[in-house]
Symmetry: C2
């Protein structure tokens, strides 16, 4: 009952809800309600692609492949590092078994299934499938979503290692070993669609050069990529006599972000080394310099360790970790508040926990909310730089890079060069939504 009322309230629109709740900064917790819709009929796709993650075990195998290690060698190497070979193998098997369970369940219903490894997943698979299942953790779900640009193609996440993976983008964990139940509910329409809003990205001013630089050589360093790109850019510009050309047109990038865009200096600026010690790498870890304009407001120069712009979905991810407070910090604030005000503010464990919980809850908002949430991570405020709000909601955020070697990281997995002079426009559009499923627990 309460939930239906909440859904109705939500359908008034998030602004009305905000008014009801008093503060535009205190959005509803995601689990209270989602503006989603009941399907008109059951959902039974004919063709389903199951995209599987790479397990840690597979990663370690591949990692040492160049050294021609035997399985026994690998075992020993991992043991020496304090890792457990048998532990990794066990998790790998759990994942593999869970994938088999999903695939069997689908085929039993006469569904045409393609199992696709992470590395083989591409636009062709997306076109072929009526629906896509992500079999892994949240990372796999982000990868799967990244190639789905239509708002009509449903994506479902199944957490194949519930003990290790948080899986907040996935179905409730009980469906991992009871997948036929999930299928059954989908079939009978006992679920809701949730259209998760995503972020789109326009970039300009950084010489996005149509002349491709060969990236198939995976061993190019970041610096080599940059250098190779610049030479190509300047050569082609000299030839066409068009030095200004690539700097003026904003390009809409062919990606959509489900969680967040993070902008920051790369750790991998390299400087020529004159060191005898093989392990010493000179990395320049710098603060990020940029200018930011929120909702077409005035440009503000900032220095920080990075800038995060997230969706409602992403408000439970990296952005949450950037902004949440530990009980220890909340306790300290209340202690100082007590001593400064002379009031008898409670400082017992229960009260601290409560305040901390409410503070952290207020950082989360609904996946179908059409607002962005920006946070400045570790702002550097000193004689030289200042900043106003450290975080807030917006419809549009523009960022101009003043960084030496920075990147814009999308959903923690893909990155774009974002150096001095580049301008990013970050916004949302309804057509970018991702169609996902909500099953009752």
């Amino acid at each position: 009952m309460a939930r239906r009322a909440a859904v109705n309230v939500w359908c008034l629109g998030s602004r009305a809800v905000s008014l009801l709740y008093g503060s535009s900064f205190r959005p509803l917790h995601t689990s209270v309600c989602n503006a989603s819709s009941k399907p008109k009929a059951g959902f039974k796709p004919e063709k389903v692609a199951v995209v599987t993650k790479t397990t840690r075990y597979e990663f370690e195998q591949q990692r040492y492949r160049y050294a021609g290690l035997s399985e026994e060698d690998l075992k020993q190497l991992l043991a020496m590092k304090g890792s457990s070979y048998s532990g990794l193998l066990e998790r790998h098997n759990i994942h593999t078994n869970n994938v088999e369970h999903i695939v069997k369940s689908l085929r039993k219903e006469g569904i045409d299934v393609r199992v696709v490894k992470r590395g083989e997943y591409n636009e062709e698979v997306v076109r072929w499938a009526n629906a896509i299942i992500s079999a892994g953790g949240d990372g796999t779900m982000l990868l799967v979503a990244s190639k789905v640009l239509s708002k009509d193609k449903p994506v479902v996440g199944v957490n194949t290692d519930p003990e290790r993976s948080e899986g907040h983008l996935c179905l409730p964990v009980r469906y991992t070993r009871a997948f036929p139940e999930a299928l059954d509910k989908l079939c009978r329409g006992e679920f809701r669609w949730l259209w998760r809003q995503r972020i789109r990205l326009h970039l300009e001013g950084t010489g996005i050069n149509p002349t491709p630089v060969d990236l198939h050589e995976q061993q190019l360093s970041l610096e080599q990529h940059s250098q190779a790109h610049r030479i190509t850019t300047m050569d082609s510009q000299r030839r066409t006599g068009n030095l200004q050309e690539s700097f003026t047109k904003p390009s809409l990038l062919p990606i959509r972000s489900l969680n967040e865009i993070f902008i920051g200096e790369s750790l991998s600026s390299r400087v020529k080394l004159k060191s005898f010690n093989p392990h010493v790498k000179l990395l320049l870890h710098r603060a990020s310099y940029y200018e930011i304009s929120v909702d077409d407001g005035p440009w503000e120069k900032q220095k920080s360790s990075g800038l995060s712009i997230c969706t409602g979905t992403g408000s439970k991810a990296w952005s949450y970790n950037i902004n949440k407070l530990a009980e220890q910090a909340v306790e300290e604030v209340l202690k100082i508040g007590k001593s400064q005000s002379g009031l008898d503010i409670p400082l017992n464990q229960e009260f601290i926990e409560k305040v901390t919980e409410k503070y952290n809850e207020s950082l989360v908002f609904s996946p179908d909310d059409s607002r962005l949430f920006y946070s400045i991570r570790e702002p550097i405020v000193n004689r030289v730089f200042s900043s106003s709000r450290q975080r807030g909601f917006a419809s549009k955020v523009c960022v101009r890079s003043r960084c030496w070697d920075a990147c814009m990281v999308v959903d923690g997995g893909t990155s774009f060069e974002f150096n001095d002079g580049a301008i990013a426009t970050i916004s949302m559009s309804e057509e970018d939504q991702l169609r996902t499923v909500v099953l009752d627990n």
Copy 2:
């Protein structure tokens, strides 16, 4: 008067002071007093090395050198990126003029001066000099300190671009253009020594291999370095029949950290790309997994975006930015505290500012304090991971890496591979102190 009393109190030892101030978590602000000592006589070194920073202008020149750009080309390129060529040149000239001023002042006193660029600064220069002056910003000071391993060699920082650089490790900004005054005070003993405590680092278990891997090829990617190192390690181990050898002995690294050690996943793990777009680099931005033991306490598994362990000097640097709170956050905590407790907690701007100020001040402690301060940056607490204290003081911190491709960054400038199985022991020793100068403002 007040200051002398404070100095006397401090000389009781930081623990006594903590008792006086009520909480061991609320250390004194650095500027109140330092346990430093008045020199017995004036300080007049015969030989002084002046180590200069690389300006942004010099960096940009070098960066585009491969492309054979003329000065006019460079100007145009910078203009297109929205950077100001003339601005960079101006800052470069300010720095250069300030360096000249310092050098002239020294030579006028009959001091033998060597001016050394950042890239040329090495152990030989340190041995030659009686004292070293860092001419740049805090970054240059960190570099200078990094090669001074003795506690007897004085290091003085001069901020050569006070408008752009915070310079908190440098002399007060007024001495930049009035350097003879500083020299004069040094000569007459009108200053105090400040021995800044530094961090030492033992590493074990990660195959610190004496067989050097050629690093003079600056274009090796992080992955290539790792791979090359592993092949060498395993080959040499196979030859000597000694697979266990390099994993058992903790090595004391020949570096001392003046600000902090930061441990975290590198952004630069690379995966094979199958992308047509030259700008898309697949970077895996991961959380850092590790285990931590504080003061020989129980090991605790953690997941976070990194771990910082700082000195008193460093408590005003990166650690400060990790831990400080914005007024917006403090206001929100107090709002929730008010609504949860029913008390009339003030929420006016002045009160919020006061509480925020006191909170942030409590994060700073004295450079000669022999304690470490550890902070877990953005701890990830969920079904899978938990953590107790998010930060605190310690004498010793041990960290065991569970990371895939992480590094330990020293003072934001040097890094060490710190992958799965490696164990770092972080501690302090009096012999590692750095001798610096405090001049009254």
